[in-house]
């Protein structure tokens, strides 16, 4: 049966151990050995209380508790002492931390997601469509008459069965309008194909984000508004925009949007070819023929549409000078984007 002597013996032993502890780790070991709730030498003595005659329990218990408090205080004090003591000189903070590598998201995804997020905030949602398309959706429904020079703007890959690889994501506009009722407010990111020779400036595959809105009373001023908001969000607040007339078979009036060069602020530099402007997207009011093709009353409903090339924007944003890099997938390239 343990007695008070035993308690003080254990305490002395423990205090000696505290005194000889050279590190926090040593102290932790002392703490564990004597004070661990489960089987600490001091704590387990308290568990033997039930075996002690009732009259002794009180003093014994008090002694044990006192010893515990003393030891706890001693440990705390010693810890304090060690904490304020010298640095552990073996710890080298310039060594790399222990971690694992994080992968990189491809710059094309980064740009697509940023664009989509910007428009998502303005009430657009994403729609997708097939990459193998019919002539109808890729051209005819979009007001490209057969044998029209406008088709030359988009050199097309044809696949078996009279089908083609879509040359833009605009067919998704037709597919979405066909199965929806206005208002429709959509952006369509995706892969597109053009039969072009591969060079630093052009590749046979590229990505596009198209967007459109059809509702009653949509005007070209609304189109300007949404694109001004997007460009400021994406490229920066103090950006200037320039809308100039252009031609796309599926919009009328059509416009090309230039932004003031974000590198030189419009003064002229190599990036903007000393023009001060960067061509960033094409847009316009959806041609009444397109709306009629999907069964909308083009007198009642109007809409706008816009589209931009993801690689072009990524090249401008990250100053990439060779479009082929996107598809070579050299991890030294991909890992530059965080």
């Amino acid at each position: 049966m343990p007695g008070s002597n035993q308690i003080s013996a254990i305490l002395q032993q423990a205090l000696a151990a505290v005194a000889s502890s050279a590190s926090l780790k040593d102290l932790e070991a002392v703490d564990n050995r004597y004070l661990s709730r489960k089987n600490g030498l001091l704590t387990s003595i308290l568990k033997t209380l039930k075996d002690i005659p009732i009259e002794e329990r009180k003093t014994f218990g008090a002694a044990a508790n006192e010893a515990r408090l003393k030891l706890e205080e001693a440990i705390a004090q010693a810890q304090e002492g060690l904490r304020t003591s010298k640095r552990d000189s073996s710890l080298d903070p310039t060594l790399p931390g222990i971690s694992h590598k994080i992968g990189s998201i491809h710059p094309i995804t980064r740009v697509i997601e940023q664009i989509c997020q910007s428009f998502y905030g303005m009430g657009f949602t994403i729609a997708r469509g097939p990459e193998i398309e019919t002539d109808y959706y890729n051209f005819e429904a979009l007001n490209f008459p057969p044998d029209h020079p406008a088709r030359d703007m988009q050199d097309t890959f044809y696949v078996e069965g009279g089908l083609l690889l879509r040359t833009h994501t605009t067919p998704v506009q037709v597919r979405t309008l066909e199965k929806s009722k206005p208002p429709v407010k959509i952006i369509t990111p995706g892969k597109t194909f053009r039969n072009e020779a591969i060079s630093t400036r052009s590749y046979c595959v590229f990505h596009q984000v198209d967007g459109f809105l059809v509702d009653e009373g949509v005007t070209m001023a609304d189109l300007k508004g949404v694109l001004v908001a997007f460009c400021r969000d994406f490229f920066g607040e103090d950006l200037k925009l320039r809308f100039r007339p252009s031609f796309f078979p599926f919009t009328e009036p059509s416009a090309e949007v230039d932004i003031s060069c974000f590198l030189c602020g419009g003064k002229g530099c190599q990036l903007c070819k000393y023009e001060g402007w960067l061509e960033i997207l094409g847009c316009g009011m959806i041609d009444p023929n397109v709306l009629n093709n999907v069964g909308y009353d083009s007198e009642k409903y109007t809409g706008y549409a816009f589209g931009m090339g993801v690689e072009r924007i990524a090249m401008l944003k990250y100053k990439i000078n060779d479009v082929r890099l996107f598809y070579e997938n050299d991890i030294r390239f991909i890992r530059q984007f965080r």
Binding site: I105, D152, K224, R244
Partner: protein
């Protein structure tokens, strides 16, 4: 198209500098760029005259010439075969900078000193012509600065025109936009034709067999021209427009085309055996040689100009070699016609030739501009090539094309543009564009035939916006349409895949999805890929039928760059044929998730790197599934042509195959020039998306303590860990909260063909603290159960 800046100023009186003119045009949709024609000024280069010239002895072509610049005389050595006494020429003095030659210095050739150079067009940077020196008109003023005399201190306007604007493919067309922007009139060139009494209709007959392909064909006959070179002013306009001068007659047809937009063609009339013109479709297999010397076998797609028998021109595309104007041509048949755009387009595609003429016809030339252009050309030919113009035009124009009239609602203009433009302003703009307007509540607008692109109200609205300026359209600060539309689960899942995989250290790749069929067939030998009919390269000839292709391609590219430690993924696509459809191609696009790893992780200061292996691949998939709330999948041994039979599994969720994972066949890896093992998985995006679980509800945290135990068993290698765990769970019952493998050991102590597995078991009750004894009892039951089910040795835990 390019034109000299000065040409536009000749036609409209504006004082905008070249750059401003280009910018203003750009902002009205006629994209233009202005740049100086000469890269370097022509300093120290003047008009001179050859006073004397004599051959230098013992040389085969060198001559000594004395050149006067009016005030001074220079001795020069000249090698040009055409240099002759009395010629006015361009003379470069010592110190002049010539194209590709640097600064001119005093020279000595064959003992003769030379103090300058008589210049060819190439040395002046005008053309590539170096066949002889440039000779000037006799009235050229001696000593005049060459750039001034030549009129080359000019700017080039380069246009990037949209395919709808056929009206701006000419100097007059561009000038029309400029005049409109400046609120001025165009100065039309005035001329008076001198015709002889003989009628051209007596000399040649014209008939059109296909009037829809050729709505109008007009011609004139000019007799007795002298073919020679054009005067400098014509050459200059052509050179600055990027067209090489050839001879006076040909140059004039080009000049007038540039001026008016109407393509013209001059035939050598001698070659018209039957003295007639018949416009007809070519016969199948009919042979015809265009004037670039190429022989073509024609089809009826090509519209042919014939002399009643043989073809003399591919209508609207290119003339024939047989009727080309040559140095001894005397009689000209001058063609000015209108051809149907689609016909010309098909002809030029069939012939594989594109010309200034076909470009204009294809976009739509003005049928009512035909005679003006022809008369202008005839007039210039008479002026600069001599010759007599026979009286009258032979004009075959069976159905006159009249201007159309369109209703325009001023309210609609503002409703589309979001503007507040007054009706009066709209009328002013339309009239400046040379449209006729009847001012009613709804405007009646008559569109001239040089604007075939304008056929609807919306086209007129665009014209008003274009001229008014897009900067006049306000930017509306309102959000219309739905304020919110939820994202499709598909899109949130894409983000989730990327977050999960990159967090695990995988890099995202993007592929073209265009594949090399030879390599692809090794991966998917059973699935014939969808072929591209007009591929740009043999290795881009089909669409990939598996995402494994793009993964291997990316690893291959990296391996070639010595990036050997690779963990990559792609949210990609496979293109398949619909197998249920018979014969017919009915493509299916399958969204796939591809994951691959290869190589070895780097050694670190705290530990060695390890070879990437199957377990790492599995771990990545497991973590991704856990992250995305996809149930863990079962790996069932299966075969797949891309994977090595020794290590390939089909992945199953809810009895559905979601993909394959394993070791890529060595033979395939080699075919991709990869010299290390590759582990990969290809997963079906949509099946996984559809098996995602909803978000969890909260489960209360345990109130009672757990009782941990450890258990080690030695079993045959053939026994799967999952089977043991499931037996442990079976016997552990409700109170067994968790089982996990924490050690796997193979070695001498456990014996050949065996492995030691150590599991940690956690027991817990939801309602009470567990007694030691009851845990021990269950634990012992588990040991018994394992002994009965597997040949196991139990080691104390």
């Amino acid at each position: 198209m390019q034109l000299p800046y000065s040409w536009i100023l000749e036609l409209v009186n504006v004082d905008w500098p070249a750059k401003e003119l280009a910018d203003r045009l750009t902002l009205c949709g006629t994209v233009a760029n202005a740049s100086p024609f000469l890269e370097e000024p022509l300093d120290n280069i003047v008009v001179g005259q050859i006073l004397e010239i004599e051959p230098i002895k013992n040389t085969d072509h060198l001559k000594k010439a004395m050149v006067s610049t009016g005030s001074e005389t220079f001795q020069v050595v000249c090698g040009a075969p055409n240099a002759a006494q009395g010629q006015k020429i361009i003379f470069a003095k010592i110190g002049a900078k010539l194209k590709g030659m640097g600064e001119l210095k005093k020279a000595k050739l064959r003992g003769v000193e030379s103090f300058g150079m008589i210049c060819s067009e190439r040395e002046l940077g005008l053309t590539d012509d170096h066949s002889g020196i440039m000779t000037l008109d006799d009235d050229a003023e001696l000593g005049m600065a060459a750039d001034e005399y030549l009129g080359v201190k000019d700017y080039i306007l380069k246009f990037d025109l949209t395919p709808n604007r056929s009206d701006s493919l000419s100097a007059i067309g561009i000038a029309r936009d400029v005049a409109c922007l400046a609120g001025k009139e165009i100065k039309q060139s005035k001329f008076e034709l001198q015709e002889i009494s003989e009628k051209s209709s007596d000399v040649v007959k014209i008939s059109i067999a296909d009037t829809s392909a050729c709505p109008r064909y007009a011609a004139r006959v000019i007799r007795g021209v002298r073919i020679g070179s054009s005067p400098w002013w014509i050459k200059r306009k052509l050179i600055l427009s990027g067209i090489r001068p050839i001879s006076n007659v040909v140059d004039i047809t080009n000049l007038v085309m540039l001026e008016t937009g109407q393509p013209l063609h001059a035939f050598d009339f001698r070659q018209f055996g039957r003295r007639e013109v018949l416009v007809r479709r070519a016969k199948q297999g009919e042979r015809f040689t265009t004037l670039d010397g190429k022989e073509h076998e024609l089809t009826p797609e090509v519209l042919l100009i014939t002399d009643g028998e043989k073809g003399v021109a591919a209508a609207g595309v290119m003339g024939g070699l047989n009727s080309e104007v040559s140095s001894d041509t005397a009689d000209i048949l001058l063609e000015s016609a209108n051809f149907d755009p689609i016909t010309v387009r098909r002809s030029r595609m069939k012939l594989g030739i594109s010309s200034e003429s076909s470009t204009r016809f294809e976009k739509g030339a003005d049928p009512n501009n035909v005679t003006f252009a022809m008369d202008r050309a005839a007039y210039l030919m008479q002026q600069y090539a001599g010759g007599e113009i026979l009286s009258g035009i032979i004009d075959c124009y069976p159905e006159k094309i009249n201007p159309i009239t369109i209703d325009l609602r001023p309210s609609r203009v503002n409703a589309i543009l979001g503007t507040d433009i007054s009706k009066e302003r709209m009328i002013i703009i339309l009239k400046m564009l040379q449209f006729r307007v009847k001012d009613k509540e709804t405007l009646e607008v008559t569109v001239p035939t040089f604007r075939p692109d304008i056929a609807r109200e919306i086209d007129l609205i665009e014209e008003i916006a274009r001229i008014e300026g897009y900067e006049q359209i306000p930017s509306a600060d309102r959000n219309i349409g739905p304020l919110y539309t939820p994202l499709h689960p598909n899109d949130t899942f894409r983000q989730l895949i990327r977050t999960s995989m990159t967090a695990q250290g995988f890099d995202e790749i993007y592929s073209s999805t265009l594949a090399d069929p030879k390599l692809l067939t090794k991966i998917e030998p059973e699935k014939a890929p969808i072929a591209i009919m007009n591929p740009i390269a043999a290795d881009f000839a089909v669409l990939q039928s598996s995402c494994l292709y793009s993964l291997l391609k990316a690893i291959s590219n990296n391996f070639a760059q010595r990036n050997t430690d690779l963990r990559i993924f792609e949210v990609g696509k496979a293109f398949l044929r619909n197998e249920s459809a018979t014969g017919d191609l009915s493509p299916v696009e399958v969204d796939e998730i591809g994951i691959a790893l290869s190589g070895k992780s780097d050694d670190q200061w705290f530990g060695k790197g390890r070879e990437r292996d199957f377990y790492e691949l599995k771990g990545a998939i497991d973590s991704f599934f856990e992250f995305a709330r996809v149930p863990q999948c079962i790996y069932r041994p299966e075969k797949h042509p891309a994977f090595d039979d020794s290590l390939v599994f089909e992945l199953i969720i809810n009895e559905k195959r979601i993909g394959f994972a394993g070791l890529i066949k060595n033979e395939i890896v080699r075919a991709f020039d990869i010299k290390q093992t590759v582990y990969a998985a290809v997963l079906d995006f949509n099946i996984i998306l559809n098996s995602r679980q909803p978000e969890n509800y909260y489960v209360p945290l345990p109130k009672f303590p757990s009782a941990p135990r450890a258990l080690a068993v030695i079993v045959d290698e053939t026994i799967n860990v999952a089977d043991i765990i499931s037996k442990i769970k079976e016997m552990g019952g409700e109170l067994l909260e968790a089982v996990e493998l924490f050690d796997l050991y193979r070695g001498k102590q456990v014996g050949e063909g065996k492995k030691s597995l150590a599991f940690s078991l956690v027991f817990r009750s939801k309602g009470r603290s567990l007694e030691n004894e009851e845990v021990t009892e269950i634990y012992n039951n588990i040991i018994e159960y394992l002994k009965n089910n597997f040949k196991t040795e139990i080691r104390e835990g």
